[in-house]
């Protein structure tokens, strides 16, 4: 049985900031019949709930009032890691799957702690999202680069980025056009780990 832990910065209905919330929800819902899933995301309270039969664990983040977004992102990692050992009742996953850089920061630590492969889903990169004319963008880009280096597999959900990522990171970059690409990757991981 494949068991996947998905980590996202946003997930509906409790935390919607942009499109990512819906994209992650769509992906995990479409994986529901394929494997066992748990989703982790920040929100207004510590809570377990189900979303169409999927177990979702929400941890309360308190650092969002910070003016410095990088400080907030680290405090989010901190809040996740001090709360999840008492909220998420499992540690035996097949794969830990982080979405974008903030979710990826939490997912990388969890993957290392659980000794699971770390899959990073990329929907866009800082240099495509912003004009790269401020320090914040450079810091985010360096975090993205670090996560891309550390990821065991990179699922690229953006057509235009996949070739660039492939040039830099080679075989571990997988183009993701449909849910079957994720399923294929998970099966590959199970094959690789069993």
């Amino acid at each position: 049985m494949i068991t996947a832990l998905h980590v996202s910065w946003e997930y509906p209905p409790y935390r919607i900031i942009g499109q990512l919330a819906w994209k992650v929800q769509e992906l995990v819902r479409s994986l529901r019949d394929f494997c066992k899933l748990a989703v982790v995301h920040p929100g207004p309270e510590n809570k377990k709930y189900t979303d169409n039969g999927i177990e979702v664990y929400m941890f309360r983040d308190t650092g969002y009032l910070r003016k410095n977004f990088i400080v907030y992102s680290h405090e989010l990692v901190y809040e996740a890691l001090i709360k999840l050992p008492y909220l998420l009742p499992y540690s035996g996953f097949t794969v830990v799957h982080g979405h974008e850089w903030i979710g990826g920061m939490i997912a990388l630590v969890l993957a290392r702690a659980f000794r699971n492969p770390f899959v990073l889903s990329i929907y866009s990169l800082e240099r495509t999202r912003s004009s790269m004319d401020n320090m914040l963008s450079f810091v985010i880009e360096s975090i993205e680069n670090c996560l891309l280096e550390e990821a065991d597999y990179i699922l690229c959900h953006h057509e235009d980025l996949s070739n660039d990522l492939y040039k830099c990171f080679g075989e571990k970059v997988i183009k993701c056009n449909a849910v079957k690409d994720v399923q294929k990757l998970y099966l590959k991981i199970v094959g690789a780990t069993t």
């Binding site: 066992k36 910070r66 680290h74 001090i82 050992p85 499992y90 540690s91 290392r112 702690a113």
Partner: protein, 405 residues
């Protein structure tokens, strides 16, 4: 017993007293048979080495870009965190995690929960103490991390009664959670350093008596007060037989140099910049008096080093040095008033017998009370008592329970 220390500085990368403290503490803990590892930063590379029986792992703190000091600290903490988890998987998890100040609080606290290992924190100073309050967003962030680490730690170690009161007041900690363990110094290093012939002439003319200061050139060290006092001695008391040697560097250097020029003391004050330990201890041994007029000083290792070199000291009548120095026995405790500092300096310079007796007393006190071997034994005792307490508690951690199925 496996203990994992986190420190943002460790030799050869030294910023202040914290790096030295962690270096000697871990070295002596290893000598006592504990399995000690340190995760720290490097000057730009990733490395693993064994130094004096201590396993030292360095992360490159420049891997991630940073927009300011706080993001830099949090970024390297994240790298330390992943490194520590990898290490615990490879070599087994530690029995104790020990962090030093807010600078590694993020890693220490998260690791405590992820690995289910008790945390001990040493608070060397507080942001409120350093800044005289919390005035900016950055100071608030630092203060928050300090509060979190003292809250999460099983025991909080501080170096003086002054810090016990401060930490208890600022973070609202129960007194039983705070333990005082003073700092210490490595006597071996001090005893082996010896000023060769002509050493003194590098810093002063033959007839000049050296008054010395060592420390970071920052506001809280009160060096501006010492320059004021020195101005009184040179320009008002018309003393030509003295030289002020200032060892260390920091952001206030330009301002302090401008003060020296303003008073016309440019031939009487020597800014050495950073100097190595051997040079520093030799300088202390040829000096007549050490002055440490800190506005905020939780302990003051430099005061101990000066005393171990047989240097009579002038320190403030509060803070950590106030607890180390006995007034009139090893030095003088003063109000931070340039006139009083100048008066005490003159008294020590002019009274040879007093200076000699203080020198003997100072050496004796340090040798009896402030050695790393004693401090390490005491710290090891704290680790053992914490482990005993932890074993009696019901600390539930869901990740030990089951796998998702």
């Amino acid at each position: 017993m496996k203990v994992l220390h986190f420190s943002w500085e460790y030799p050869p990368s030294i910023v202040g007293g914290l790096g030295r403290h962690v270096y000697y503490l871990t070295k002596y803990l290893a000598r006592l048979g504990a399995d000690i590892s340190v995760i720290t930063t490097s000057l730009g590379e990733v490395s693993e080495e064994v130094i004096d029986g201590v396993k030292v792992y360095r992360v490159n703190p420049f891997t991630l870009r940073s927009s300011n000091f706080i993001t830099w600290v949090l970024n390297f903490n994240y790298l330390m965190l992943t490194k520590a988890i990898d290490l615990s998987k490879k070599e087994g998890k530690p029995d104790i995690i020990h962090v030093h100040d807010w600078l590694t609080a993020y890693t220490g606290i998260t690791l405590k929960h992820v690995l289910k290992v008790p945390l001990i924190a040493t608070i060397h100073s507080t942001e409120i103490g350093r800044r005289g309050g919390i005035w900016t967003e950055d100071q608030k962030i630092i203060h928050d991390w300090e509060w979190r680490v003292t809250y999460e730690a099983w025991k909080v170690i501080v170096c003086s009664d002054y810090m016990m009161r401060e930490v208890s007041r600022v973070f609202m900690l129960l007194p039983e959670k705070i333990i005082k363990i003073p700092n210490a110094i490595e006597l071996e290093d001090i005893e082996t350093s010896s000023p060769g012939s002509g050493f003194k002439e590098k810093y002063a003319l033959p007839h000049e008596k050296i008054i010395m200061f060592v420390g970071r050139l920052v506001y809280e060290k009160g060096l501006d007060l010492l320059i004021e006092a020195f101005n009184i001695l040179v320009n008002k008391s018309k003393r030509d037989d003295i030289k002020l040697v200032i060892a260390g560097d920091g952001p206030m250097r330009e301002y302090l140099i401008s003060m020296v020029y303003k008073y016309g003391l440019e031939n009487k004050v020597y800014f050495t910049g950073r100097i190595d330990d051997n040079e520093l201890f030799s300088l202390m041994k040829v000096s007549y008096v050490g002055v440490f007029p800190s506005r905020y000083e939780p302990f003051g290792i430099a005061v101990l080093e000066a005393m171990a070199c047989g240097l009579p000291v002038i320190v403030p009548n509060y803070g950590g040095p106030n607890e180390v120095v006995e007034h009139g026995v090893e030095g003088f405790k003063v109000f931070l008033n340039p006139c009083e500092i100048a008066e005490r300096i003159a008294q020590l310079l002019d009274n040879v017998d007093l200076r000699n007796s203080m020198s003997v007393n100072a050496r004796k006190k340090i040798r009896n009370l402030y050695t790393w071997d004693k401090i390490a034994r005491f710290t090891l005792g704290i680790y053992r008592s914490v482990l005993k307490e932890v074993s009696k508690r019901d600390w539930k951690h869901l990740w030990e329970v089951k796998a998702l199925s």
